[in-house]
Amino acid sequence: MAESSKETKTTIELATFYVGHALCGMDILKIQEINKLMEMTKVPQAPDYMVGILNLRGQIVTIIDLGQKLGLGRVEISNDSRNIIINAPGEHVGLLVSKISDVIMADPDRIEPAPANMSGIQGSFFTGVYKTENKLIGILDVKEVLRLESDNLGRGLER
């Protein structure tokens, strides 16, 4: 995250979305697509933050309930809820969010470090916060969200 923002010094585009009532954002370039496919297959025995798996044009996509993952409670599937499909190494992963919001042009220099405890959200999942005129956007650390608990070994290396 930090690297990409350095490279594109001028501005970055943030795709913003709601998880419950919390407004989050992420670099739009990391997103492959956003869709509304809700025909998910449940996977018994999967971790509780997993909603299920989805057939995305012949590929199996794992869908993660972002609300559950962030500790905000389950995202309810409604007309507004969407899957944000992310190109992760070796696979595609979908993040289930409550609602998609605007795309915001942001100045990377104005991204502030995330407070340890952001209004009840687990701070470790955010790289920073970005203030607009009337909103505060938490910038999602996608790597952290996709990291498995068993991956802790690699954690120190990447940071």
Binding site: E39, T41, K42, V43, P44, Q45, A46, P47, M50, I53, L54, N55, G58, Q59, I60, V61, T62, I64, A88, P89, G90, E91, H92, V93, L146, L148, S150
Partner: protein, 964 residues
């Protein structure tokens, strides 16, 4: 000189490896030929060495070039007949070929490897020509020469440490040579190239979505595969067809022509399957690629162990998926080594046993039932199940009790258990403690299976079954908890559906284990919803929906469906109102909703039944890997996309067994336990009597043997007509005489109500109806029948059924008393018309007092003499003493001490009694029982207490006996 063009290098490597693969077997053939040189063969090897040399020279691979050159020199001598290829010379050549192979496989580092030992040995042969024996033994560097033949499987990936060591050595040895220094520098440069290559390849593999099995792919570098041009052309053609079909489809959709859509659909279907087949073909490789190295393995090993072994290979052309070919290499090598090391005996041992000194190992591959079977058989000492079982017990892998109940085959297959190795002494060849279980694990991962069969002292055969390919597999689709799951057909044994009415009969519980009896074997059951924590549901076909299932275990059905327990558990209101036929139709237990759908699966030695909600079709599916986040879920082998676009998970059958706590040992332990329980249950059930229970007045309960009942009818009181002092009703176009029990026996009169039941019997060639009232029920009892307390006219005895005293009705007696004229003119009941002196004597063998007295009663009534015996043994003794008196034997089947089958066998097998007719009486007339009875010589079978038929045949046999 740096290597500029990777593609050319890759080509060289592939070509050289192909040459080398052939060289090995050719050298062995040359060795076999000895002085009788096959010039054509030597030429071939020579040319191979020559082209490797040429290629290596062109690529600047000096070390490979030198080695190939030295080998070529020696081969040249052999070709021109100046040198006789002794085993030692061939050995040196083989070692050189091995070295060449490892050099070529790690081509980037080849120029830094020290090969002086090989070249020196080869050159000595070349120069000296005549003195190869001494040199060859000394020449190869001991540490390289030794392990090389012992572990050819490792050649594919030379351990990095070895390479590093060699690299470290090189500079010190060749430092003074400027040329060599240059090369080393170049080498270093190339090395980095090579590494980065590997990295990109690795990352490509990770990024690639086609990573097939979750574990595969990532670590391996990209490999290439050779495909014939004609196959590529075919693929191209098919791709063209597919594009055409797609265009047609799009057109059809735009025009909305439904009829055409069907045709286009068919076309796409056809093209797709052809395309799939063709693409599969590109992955197929002959199994010979693996098999070809075994002659060498067997040769080297048998030499080392001082054994003489021939290896016969059959079916080299059988093709398998590339991935499988690669993966079976190690397991097969292990098995072949095992056969050489443990299977085939030493020549002296073999001669002692009268076998040919030369052992034979046969390696065979063939297609069977959509799978490839590889068989490895040897004519060695075989496996001794007893010894294996003993060892397994000693190692604590199984208990002695378990061992006792195992079959010979099961015992042999114990060898596949983890931590099992039968080798008495640990050799460096095999038997290193990691044994067959590793082989088994490897094969399990491939979706294959392994089975051992052996005859002590004669042979051992190991058969491996492998799927043709891993990418597309046929699967059985099942449904549980509203989601579909796929079970690979390899694991599928059969599908089993137990109708609700049979659940209690077939499903049993022992401790926590639920099992089903399947053709005499007990099969542990696992409920899929339990293992995966899915809310249990059952499918209601009437409403076509899934309903939550409240039962906690299968046995809960018992309360609903078992006639044994119904009296306590079913509310009385439900019981009384309906008559039997109607109830059977509407009762919940009769509907399909609570039937059990069981998928019988097997994985290795284990076999169990997986209970699912519904069974669907079988389908060919494409395996897709699951994402990282689901790797921790062990129950799945992957996922697949179904025709409707939804995803189905593929079940990993062996992991499910593990998750359910069912190991193969557990299985056998439970099975043994249950086998005992089942046996007991069977013996108990044998003496059961099926009764139809009913009432006549509200407070008195009656029973009559079910097999005497023709049917039960519901009638209204007004249907009964009183004509000529008799009660009759119209029935099937005639008059059915009706009686009630109180007409004969002193019991309470028939209850006065509108709804009555008529139990129809067929006696003395006529139908007769017994008036009764509900509730009626069909039950099985094994309670003791008291034939004293309540015995009276028309009542043969009583039993306690469901906590109530129930009187057993003797329908014959009742009819005889109420309608004596019926029986007078009926032959079966006519008293025997013969001289007093010659009254036939019948030996009645029956362990139940009740039945014995009953049968005796019938016989004496008809005027026969009767001798009683409580079991087969007593009967046999009586026969010995009074053989000339007895005219025929009427025997029960299930008896203590000696059963009816054995008794019959003894009678029929004895000269003195062989002529005696034997009539068997049984409560169970299962087909196999009847067959068995016929086999031992039973003349006739009768269901217990079917008096009419029994007496008819007794009369017939008595007449025959008298006449004779």
């Amino acid at each position: 000189m740096s290597i500029e063009d990777d593609e050319i290098l890759q080509g060289f490597v592939e070509e050289s490896l192909e040459h080398l693969a052939d060289i090995e077997n050719d050298l062995l053939a040359i060795e076999e030929g000895g002085a009788d040189i096959d010039v054509e063969l030597v030429n071939k090897v020579f040319r191979a060495a020559h082209s490797i040399k040429g290629g290596a020279g062109f690529m600047g691979l000096t070390v490979i070039q030198d080695l190939a050159h030295a080998a070529e020199n020696v081969l040249g001598l052999i070709r021109s007949g100046k040198l006789v290829p002794t085993p030692n010379i061939v050995n040196v050549l083989l070692l050189a070929a091995d070295e060449l192979q490892s050099l070529i496989e790690d081509v980037g580092n080849s120029n830094t490897v020290d090969i002086t030992s090989h070249t020196a040995a080869l050159n000595t042969i070349f120069e000296g020509g005549e003195a190869p024996v001494a040199t060859a033994k000394k020449a190869p560097q001991p540490e390289r020469a030794e392990p090389a033949p012992a572990k050819p499987s490792e050649i594919a990936s030379p351990p990095p440490q070895v390479v590093e060591e060699l690299q470290a050595e090189v500079p010190t040895e060749v430092e003074d040579e400027a040329e060599a220094m240059d090369e080393h520098d170049v080498e270093a440069e190339h090395e980095t190239d090579h590494e980065s290559d590997q990295e990109t390849a690795a990352s490509e593999a990770t990024a690639g979505t086609k990573t097939r099995r979750s574990s595969g792919g990532a670590q391996k570098t990209d490999t290439t595969i050779r495909v014939t041009v004609s196959l590529l052309d075919q693929l191209m053609n098919l791709a063209g067809e597919l594009v055409l079909s797609r265009n047609q489809l799009l057109q059809t959709i735009t025009s909305g022509d439904v009829r055409n859509a069907e045709a286009v659909g068919q076309r796409i279907d056809l093209v797709t399957s052809e395309l799939q087949e063709a693409i599969m073909l590109t992955r197929m490789q002959p199994i010979g690629n693996v098999f070809n190295k075994f002659p060498r393995v067997v040769r080297d090993l048998s030499k080392k162990l001082g054994k003489q072994i021939d290896l016969t290979i059959v079916g080299k052309d059988v093709e398998l998926d590339k991935t499988i070919i690669e993966a079976i290499n190690d397991p097969l090598t292990h098995l072949i080594r095992n056969s050489v090391d443990h299977g085939v005996e030493t020549p002296s041992d073999r001669l002692k046993k009268g076998k040919d000194a030369k052992g034979l190992i046969v390696l065979k591959a063939y297609h069977a039932a959509g799978q490839v079977v590889i068989e490895i058989s040897d004519d060695g000492k075989g496996l001794d199940g007893e010894v294996i079982a003993e060892a397994a017990v000693k190692k604590g892998l199984i208990t002695a009790d378990q061992a006792k109940v195992m079959s010979e085959k099961e015992r042999i297959n114990l060898i596949l258990l983890p931590g099992f190795s039968t080798a008495k002494k640990v050799t460096d060849v095999s038997g290193r403690g990691v044994g067959m279980d590793v082989v088994k694990t490897n094969l399990d991962q491939l979706g294959g299976s392994i089975e051992m069969d052996s005859e002590v002292g004669k042979s051992t055969t190991i058969s491996i079954k492998l799927p043709l390919t891993l990418a597309i597999i046929p699967c059985q689709i099942v449904m549980t908890g509203g989601e579909r799951y796929a079970i690979p057909q390899v694991n599928l044994e059969e599908l089993l559906r137990i109708p609700a009415s049979k659940v209690v009969e077939r499903v049993e519980r022992v401790g926590d284990a639920e099992v089903v009896r399947l053709r005499g074997n007990l099969l542990p059951l696992i409920r899929m919803s339990d293992v995966f924590g899915i809310t249990p549901t059952y499918y209601d076909p009437v409403q076509d929906e899934l309903l939550p299932d409240q039962r906690h275990n299968i046995a809960d059905r018992r309360s609903k469906s078992s006639p044994l327990f119904r009296d306590e558990s079913t509310p009385a209101a439900e019981q009384g109102v309906h008559a039997s036929q109607e109830r059977k139709g509407t009762e919940r237990r009769q509907s399909a909703s609570s039937a059990l759908n069981i998928v019988v699966v097997s994985t290795g030695a284990m076999k169990y039944g997986l209970i699912v909600d519904r069974l669907h079709d079988s389908e060919e599916i494409v395996i897709k890997p699951l994402g990282r986040h689901l790797q921790q879920c062990q129950g799945y082998a992957g996922a697949t996309i179904m025709g409707d676009g939804r995803i189905a998970l593929i079940l990993d059958v062996s992991n499910i067994a593990r998750m359910a706590g069912l190991t193969s040992l557990d299985g056998s332990e439970r099975a043994a336990e249950l086998a005992d329980a089942a046996k007991e249950a069977i013996t108990k059930s044998r003496d059961k009597q099926s009764l139809l229970t009913f009432s006549s007045s509200i407070h008195e309960h009656f029973g009559v043997p079910l097999n005497q009942v023709e049917r039960v009818e519901k009638i209204k009181r007004k249907d009964i007509e009183e004509v000529g002092g008799r009660r009759v009703m119209q029935y099937r176009g005639g008059s059915l005489p009706l009686i009630s029990i109180d007409e004969v026996a002193s019991v309470m009169p028939l209850d006065d109500r509108d709804d009555l039941l008529v139990i129809v019997f067929h006696l003395a060639g006529k139908d007769v109806g017994l008036l009764a009232i509900g509730p009626i029920d069909a039950i099985e009892i094994n309670a003791d029948i008291d034939d004293v307390t309540l015995k009276q006219q028309g009542i043969m005895g009583s039993a306690i059924i469901g906590g109530r005293t129930t009187m057993l009705v003797d329908i014959f007696e009742i009819m005889k008393i109420s309608n004596p004229q019926w029986f007078e003119d009926h032959a079966a009941y006519a008293e025997i018309q013969i001289d007093e002196a010659q009254v036939p004597t019948i030996l009645i063998v029956e362990d139940s007092n009740f039945f014995r007295h009953q049968v005796k009663g019938y016989m004496e009534e008809a005027g026969f003499n009767v001798i009683e015996a409580e079991d087969g043994l007593v009967a046999w003794n009586i026969l010995q003493q009074q053989s000339d008196e007895i005219t025929m034997v009427v025997t029960d089947i299930e008896m203590p001490n000696m059963d009816g089958f054995i008794l019959t066998e003894k009678i029929k097998g004895d000269k003195r009694f062989g002529h005696l007719p034997v009539i068997a009486l049984t409560t169970l007339a299962a087909d196999e029982d009847i067959a068995r009875g016929k086999a031992v010589g039973v003349d006739e079978y009768h269901i217990k207490l079917d008096k009419e038929r029994l007496m008819a045949s007794v009369h017939r046999y008595a007449k025959e006996a008298m006449a004779a």
